[in-house]
Amino acid sequence: MTELNEIDLRGLTAGNKRAWDQFVAAAAPLINAVVRRALNPYRLGEDDVMDAAQDVFVRLCASDFRLIKGYDPSRAGISTWLAVVARSAAIDHMRRRRQVADSIDDVPEAALAIEDRHVEKLKIPQGLLTDRQTLMLRLLYDEDRDVTEVAELLKIDAQTVRSTHHKALLRLREHFKIDST
């Protein structure tokens, strides 16, 4: 099977059937995985998930392959770009369906989260942490990810994650005068 980055995209967007078939065969596993993961919280049936995945391909060839023609290989690899597009399309497909939740169990838990207002939180002033430090702390503590996962996401090594994490917390402790345990 032809790899995604070996597909003749120019021929495909010119209407070459064979190039399109090769593209579909190469892209189907990725699009299938991305769509399933994105729609997992909604607990859809298999047919609905397949429809959402099919919708991704419909978008890719719509308006004379406008989306694929707009792909810029100098910015990102085709697999990464396709995964991003597939996820956006799957979420849009879900919103268009206007799935009405019959019970509270059908609503993703993140949508039900209520901020605890009883505990007054100290405000972190702007500029105390960099955006990268803030993101890293959110990933580690709000998303409960480990150092390896954060390193993979941010495309940095694990030691850099530990180092950035340490510096960020040091700043917070110094500012709020809170000792570590």
């Binding site: 991305v34 397949m50 099919q54 990464t80 939180k121 100290l122 803030t134 996401l153 709020f176």
Partner: protein, 171 residues
């Protein structure tokens, strides 16, 4: 006298704090997110994406999902997904119009149904013609009837001539 707060571990410290209200808004374009996931954004652009992801749990979750999927071996997709998707694009030859259609091509140009209709009408016409011949006695019988009429008329003529010149009378 320093107002130090009670000791906390790192997680307790973070959970006790909240970000000061900050106008970090905006969506990340598909290309920007893809480039960010590959670590290919310029520092200023990467910082902008970092800020948006730090402030937006939904986009942050999306980035995490995509990063995980792109790092793992993918299972095969159901066969019908590829079959249905491949059917979205037809063959090139179907897009090209015929340059100069011949008689047969024009006959079938409007489709098979048109051709079948023409063939049916032609067959009906042929059946009508043949049955008409059979009812009328056919071509051979008609010719024999014509010949009989001719013989009868020539016999009448020669008897008239005999009557006119038979006894030597000259008029």
């Amino acid at each position: 006298m320093s107002a130090k707060r009670s000791p906390m571990n790192d997680q307790e410290l973070w959970r006790s704090l909240a970000m000061e209200g900050r106008a970090v808004s905006g969506m990340i374009s598909d290309h920007d997110l893809a480039a960010w996931l590959e670590g290919r954004l310029a520092p200023a652009e990467a910082a902008r994406v970092d800020a948006i992801l730090a402030a937006d749990p939904e986009q942050r979750a999306a980035a995490l999902e995509l990063s995980e999927i792109l790092a793992m071996p993918l299972p095969a997709a159901p066969a019908r997904l590829a079959v249905r998707a491949q059917a979205l694009v037809g063959f090139e030859v179907e897009r090209e119009p015929a340059s100069r259609p011949g008689f047969l091509a024009s006959l079938f140009a409007a489709g098979r149904r048109q051709a079948l209709r023409a063939a049916a009408m032609g067959t009906a016409a042929a059946i009508l013609a043949v049955s008409g011949f059979l009812v009328g006695g056919g071509l051979g019988e008609s010719y024999a009837h014509q010949k009989q009429i001719t013989v009868v008329s020539s016999t009448d003529t020669s008897s008239e001539l005999t009557d006119l010149f038979g006894d030597g009378n000259v008029i």
